[in-house]
């Protein structure tokens, strides 16, 4: 085994090792500190954890391709909120009310379409202007959030459809609907990144854009497809979550972009592009959710949770850099 392969193995398995460490830590410490009698590693608790991972998880999986591409999308939280509003509000439209339960797939369609359109706007701007995706999506993050507030002011938008709630709360083969969406998305994106032409191009564009252009890859349209994909996934995340909750606040989805990016980076994807994996991101999502849940389990408050996650993120990046150092001849800064 070459040192390169060894490094890759450490990097790819690192997040799963971390998850095991977390599980062990919270199980043991939980015995002494937990406020509840329930064991942390309880099966139902773990199922719930997967379900709770879904909203940010689905977004993070899409963010992985965007980041492999060498881009970033900060507008996913706002897209999430706007798609949620379209989902719930569309069901109150007069013509929809006459459709009975057929309104549900139609409402989903509207919401998902909203996500795709918002993503296409981002992608088109990045492609045609060449402005950095960070700046473009920073702008659209503010802009899309503005649209959310324009829709209903500070008021929440609510609509409960019990058929929808039943669907969202259903369990199939023991897993919740949201979990199935998370795992399904992960499977599809894993196939896309590892087995398809599009996935191959995503790595090539992120790793060496000039070489990709020279190889005849249409880089601009490629990038736009990916932004449409993440828009779709942000909306899908909203569909999954709000089918159950039935009420969206205009501030919902704030900071989701940062949680998603955190999960992606923890999963080993490089911010600079060209390297990363869907499986790693799935690990990153689960690790973060475990941490939040576990720290809650042993009685830590939200602020502490954020502090710990922040520290761990930095520690991971420092370790990653050490693994990537080519040796002593590397330039010092």
């Amino acid at each position: 085994m070459t040192s390169q392969n060894r490094r890759d193995l450490i990097k790819q398995s690192g997040i799963w090792v971390f998850i095991v460490v977390e599980l062990a830590f919270f199980s043991i410490v939980g015995n002494y500190l937990s406020v509840s009698d329930q064991a942390f590693m309880d099966f139902d608790n773990m199922l719930l954890l997967l379900k709770q991972s879904a909203p940010i998880g689905i977004i993070a999986l899409g963010m992985t391709i965007i980041m492999i591409n060498g881009n970033i999308d900060l507008s996913v939280g706002a897209t999430f909120a706007l798609a949620a509003i379209v989902l719930l509000d569309s069901m109150t439209w007069p013509f929809m009310q006459n459709l009975g339960n057929w309104a549900i797939p139609l409402a989903w369609g509207f919401a998902l379409m909203t996500g795709v359109v918002l993503g296409a706007i981002n992608g088109l701007i990045v492609w045609k202007t060449g402005v950095d995706a960070f700046i473009v999506t920073l702008g659209s993050m503010l802009g899309f959030r503005g649209l959310v507030f324009m829709y209903n002011g500070e008021q929440p938008t609510s609509h409960l459809n019990w058929t929808l709630v039943d669907f969202a709360e259903a369990q199939f083969l023991g897993l919740h609907t949201a979990t199935w969406f998370l795992l399904g998305t992960a499977l599809v994106l894993w196939l896309v990144t590892t087995r398809t032409n599009h996935g191959r191009n995503a790595y090539a564009v992120g790793n060496n854009r000039d070489a990709a252009v020279n190889a005849g890859i249409r880089v601009g349209p490629h990038i736009m497809w990916n932004f449409m994909l993440i828009g779709f996934l942000a909306a899908l995340s909203a569909v999954v979550f709000y089918s159950e909750s039935g009420s969206v606040n205009p501030n919902d989805g704030m900071l989701y972009e940062l949680w998603a990016i955190t999960a992606v980076v923890l999963g080993g994807t490089k911010l600079a592009g060209g390297y990363g994996s869907i499986i790693g991101t799935l690990g990153g999502v689960i690790a973060i959710q475990l941490l939040r849940k576990g720290l809650g389990h042993i009685g830590a408050d939200t602020q502490t949770v954020n502090l710990v996650i922040g520290l761990i993120l930095i520690a991971v990046l420092v370790m990653d850099r050490q693994l990537n150092r080519q040796g002593k001849e590397e330039l010092k800064i």
Partner: protein
């Protein structure tokens, strides 16, 4: 006017890199008040020698003397402290800062509490600018200056200390004729102050105009010093190339087919103008010229990476429109780019993925890429090109330069191109692999590919080409067949010297223009 005392001496400098003896016992000295030209082909060791002198590279053997004292250069900062200053070909200025801040970058005069002493800074800078006789002041933003004036700022940096020796590396590469005159005046001033000057350039006219002595490097070895007044261009050229080439001239004549690619009057802004040539099936057409002569830009234009401002491209006699690499690839044109790592390979990917990158969209089974088809392609070209790698899983970043280059070539051969353009086929490749790549190029031509080779290495161009196009400053100076080309007439053509022969009058007139402008 020459003070016989050398201000700077290099003695028996040896510098080896893995597999290469870049400098092999080079000795060289500069006297006070002299302009000493350092010449040699690309790769002869000039840059390495200057890096050793500047403390960037440590020599394996040899000694540097400043005046009479032996010194060990350990860092660029130390070189500067000893009064050895460099004016680099590439400017390294901070565009957003003022002229004064750039000149004193890293050593701004300070007052108490670390505050910058702006008055002293501007006064000092103005004093330096006065000696340079320039038309801008210390507070000007550097980004607002012309290239020539930015170069003056670079020179100004060299004058913050009392320099003993100043090294100019291709200083006129991006200057207009009027700007050159200003630069030469500055050099004359430095000379009058007793500074020793090393002047690196490929341009013969300048060398003969301003230098006192000429030293020549060849393949990392010192090949002689001439007094400028007592020599001529031919003699210098002889020193630069006068070796028995270990690479034999290309002699393998095989059957050539129809014209595969023809270019008529192609121009791209000021990068190159009115370029015409053709290349036949089974032929290797070499492009030779100095860095910046426009060769790479021509290749990029044919490959659709640049938009031509005029001219036509004909493929098999049909005019074609190429607006992107996608068009070029569809038409059967492939480009092996100049910089393998930046433009050719995706270093993070494995060998197989790199090789199949341009056609991976076609190698699908249903929605998925067929790994079997990819591996088949990889295996075929690994055997054909003798690529040495443990397997297709190997990341290309771990391969040697020669094998990396073969991956890029294999990538394009697998596309079955009609025209293959190879830009700097052996840059950064060790000697053994070089001749392998050369043989490969000859083989490809023998198989009927039309091949264009762009190179800055004369032996390479002479070895692989059936015909050679010599370029200078964006223009085709002359086209040589392999029978009529000599090292002499080739190096003169690419230096912009008008030629004596009857062929190519149009090209010669450009040369005359250059001559006049310089005198």
């Amino acid at each position: 006017m020459t003070d016989p005392k050398p201000v700077l001496r290099l003695r028996d400098i040896v510098k080896t890199f893995p597999g290469v003896r870049a400098l092999d016992g080079v000795s060289f000295d500069v006297r006070a008040g002299e302009v000493h030209a350092l010449m040699g082909e690309n790769g002869a060791g000039k840059s390495t020698l200057m890096k050793v002198l500047g403390g960037v590279l440590a020599p394996n053997e040899g000694q540097i003397f400043i005046g009479e004292d032996p010194v060990v250069m350990t860092s660029p900062k130390q070189a500067k402290a000893m009064g050895v200053m460099f004016i680099h070909q590439e400017l390294s200025l901070a565009d957003e800062l003022s002229v004064a801040e750039n000149i004193f970058l890293g050593e701004l005069p300070l007052k108490s509490f670390g505050r910058v002493d702006w008055d002293k800074l501007y006064a000092d800078t103005d004093r330096i600018l006065e000696t340079l006789n320039v038309g801008f002041d210390a507070k000007t933003r550097v980004g607002d200056l012309s290239i020539a004036n930015q170069q003056m700022v670079e020179i100004g940096r060299a004058l913050t200390v009392d320099p003993r020796a100043v090294i100019f590396d291709e200083p006129t590469a991006s200057l207009t004729d009027a700007e050159k005159v200003v630069l030469f005046n500055v050099i004359a001033d430095l000379q009058a102050r007793g500074v020793g000057i090393i002047y690196i350039s490929h341009r013969m006219e300048e060398i003969f105009k301003i230098t006192d002595r000429i030293s020549v490097l060849r393949d990392g070895q010192y090949s002689g010093t001439l007094n400028t007044a007592e020599t001529n261009e031919d003699e210098v050229t002889q020193l630069m190339i006068g070796r028995s080439l270990d690479l034999s001239r290309n002699a393998s004549h095989h059957q050539m087919g129809n014209v595969a690619l023809e270019v008529r009057g192609l121009s791209c802004g000021r990068l190159f103008e009115d370029v015409s040539f053709d290349v036949r099936q089974g032929e290797v057409l070499g492009f030779y010229g100095l860095v910046g002569a426009g060769r790479t830009e021509i290749a990029e234009t044919i490959f659709g990476l640049r938009t031509p401002s005029a001219g036509q491209i004909l493929l098999n006699g049909q005019e074609v429109q190429i607006t992107s690499p996608i068009d070029a690839i569809k038409l059967g044109i492939s480009l092996v780019p100049e910089d393998r790592k930046d433009q050719g390979l995706v270093l993070g990917m494995n060998c197989k993925d790199n090789m199949s990158l341009p056609q991976v969209g076609r190698l699908t089974k249903g929605p998925f890429v067929s790994q079997g088809a990819e591996i088949a392609i990889f295996d075929k070209y690994r055997d054909k090109l003798d690529i040495r790698t443990p397997g297709w899983r190997q990341a290309v970043g771990n391969l040697s330069g020669g094998n990396q280059q073969k991956i890029v070539i294999g990538k394009w051969l697998s596309m079955q191109p009609e025209v293959l353009i190879v830009d700097e086929p052996t840059r950064g490749i060790d000697v053994g692999s070089k001749s392998e790549i050369h043989n490969l190029i000859r083989d490809l031509a023998a198989q009927g590919f039309a091949v264009i080779v762009i190179s800055s290495e004369m032996p390479e161009v002479l070895h692989v080409s059936d015909r050679i196009v010599a370029m200078f400053a964006g223009r085709v100076m002359r086209e040589f067949t392999s029978e009529e080309v000599t090292e002499d007439n080739l190096i003169q053509a690419i230096s912009g010297i008008k030629e004596q022969g009857p062929a190519g009058h149009a090209a010669a007139s450009h040369g005359i223009g250059q001559d006049k402008a310089l005198t």
